[in-house]
């Protein structure tokens, strides 16, 4: 008789049940806003030495307190992100305190700070995975994006150490004006290093702090809609997936016409995000002041049971919303959502012309094919 049944996570049937019952499945912790790089497109980074930002960071015991509540509400998986989470001097303490609560951990890092100490630690206390973003595969391109001399050598060294030690690594690429010429090589590099997973993301988000100069810079790094579509079409796996699910992406205009709710996405359904300074959000990008909660003042349990309901019930009767995005037949091809609309336009119910143009270019391409 088998007393103990082994399960791999994708077959874990509780996920859906928990989401349906408004339980927490997972959460993201931004351990810091600081980063050792200064990427042109980054929506969060502050200088590594920024003492004010450092002073605002949630301490180990505050993080442990949030995790404790999240675990008691069902959470099983936690993503540690940043900024660069390995900049935290207490990273090991944070990681271990979460592990000991029975959380499965993923880590997003640029790999440049990986040392032998990290390797030993991760080998002893394995993360579910470590996800690394590849900005280029030559020093010139990589450092054009990161604006940090020496960062390419540090990245390749860190990545190779992790791969050699057998820790599960996933790679992804952000595609921006500064590295788009190298995307075929980046893609080959990533697929050569890890067999099971690679994705690229051409959508550059605006800054969480609304920094106007940095936002202007991010916009200059964005690709034109036609360039995005051409890239997507040149990736056979991605194109096939989109073609196969075409019916899900384009639907009749009337499908949401009866409803003025802002949120039809997964925000606050099964997961949430906490900023490095303790702000609860329903998802990473949702920074509108009516949608966040300061976890130094309210408990997670309170935010989860009250704020989430309040936000999910938000509505808009503005014509530009009701007549455009709410009934849009190609919304599933669009990056538009209340969170990103707010980052782009300061309003959660405004269309975003750049997103709109990308979505229409994608729809046209799908129809033509």
């Amino acid at each position: 008789m088998k007393f103990l049944k082994s399960l791999t996570l994708p077959e874990f049937s509780l996920w859906n049940k928990m989401r349906e019952q408004a339980k927490i499945v997972s959460f993201n912790l931004e351990l810091t806003g600081r980063c050792n790089h200064n990427c042109r497109h980054c929506y969060i980074n502050l200088p590594a030495q920024d003492q004010q930002a450092k002073a605002r960071e949630f301490k180990v015991d505050e993080i442990a307190g949030i995790a404790e509540q999240a675990v008691s509400l069902g959470a099983l998986w936690c993503l540690l992100t940043g900024g660069e989470p390995l900049l935290r001097e207490d990273f090991f303490d944070i990681y271990l305190s979460l592990k000991k609560k029975g959380l499965l951990l993923s880590v997003f890092t640029n790999a440049a700070l990986i040392t032998d100490k990290h390797l030993c630690f991760f080998k002893k206390y394995p993360p579910r995975d470590i996800e690394i973003t590849v900005y280029g595969v030559t020093q010139e391109t990589y450092e054009k994006v990161t604006r940090k001399p020496g960062s390419f050598a540090n990245f390749t060294r860190g990545l190779d150490l992790l791969l050699a030690s057998g820790i599960k690594v996933r790679l992804k690429a952000m595609v921006l004006r500064s590295n788009v010429r190298e995307l075929p090589e980046i893609s080959r590099f990533c697929r050569g290093k890890t067999k099971d997973f690679f994705r690229f993301d051409p959508f550059l988000h605006l800054r969480f702090d609304g920094d106007a100069a940095r936002n202007a810079e991010i916009k200059t790094e964005r690709l034109a809609p036609e360039e995005i579509v051409a890239l997507e079409n040149s990736d056979p796996q991605r194109f096939k997936a989109m073609e196969k699910d075409c019916a899900q992406f384009i639907f009749p205009e009337s499908s949401h016409s009866h409803c003025n709710h802002l949120f039809h996405c997964g925000a606050g359904q099964g997961s949430f995000t906490v900023s490095y300074d303790g702000f609860f959000r329903l998802c990473s990008s949702l920074w509108h002041q009516d949608c966040i909660g300061d976890l130094r003042k309210v408990s997670l349990t309170d935010a989860w049971s009250n704020l989430v309901l309040k936000v999910r019930d938000m509505r808009s009767d503005k014509e530009k919303f009701l007549k455009r995005c709410r009934i849009c037949p190609i919304i599933n091809l669009c990056l538009w959502c209340p969170a990103h609309a707010h980052l782009e336009t300061q309003e959660m119910d405004s269309p975003v012309e750049y997103f709109c143009a990308v979505a229409h270019a994608r729809a046209k391409s799908l129809k033509n094919n």
């Binding site: 008789m1 088998k2 007393f3 103990l4 049944k5 082994s6 399960l7 791999t8 996570l9 994708p10 874990f12 509780l14 049940k17 928990m18 019952q21 339980k23 675990v71 069902g74 099983l76 592990k99 000991k100 609560k101 029975g102 959380l103 499965l104 080998k123 002893k124 206390y125 394995p126 993360p127 579910r128 995975d129 599960k168």
Partner: protein, 103 residues
Amino acid sequence: MEKKLVLESIFAPSEDVVAREIQGEFLIIPITSGIAESDEEIFTLNETARVVWNNLDGKRTLRALIDKLSVEFDSPAAEIENEVCGFTEELLKRKMLIEVKRG
């Protein structure tokens, strides 16, 4: 080499795993490497195993545990002994249990 179980021994959950109950499912989640075969693997316990796990508390001998369960479930001790020993061996093999005191 496998050691034979001694009923006078006392066992407790290893600190390298965490037991959690989520939505009525009893899960064992490894903290350290060498327990699961992949980083995607967790474990669930069936009803019997859950009762035994909750009684492997680092205080009771296996024999005391068997006697207790035999009364609680009104079953012959030999039957319970089979189940308890089977499960304990499985947990030991997986390094989810430690022997606190060898009997």
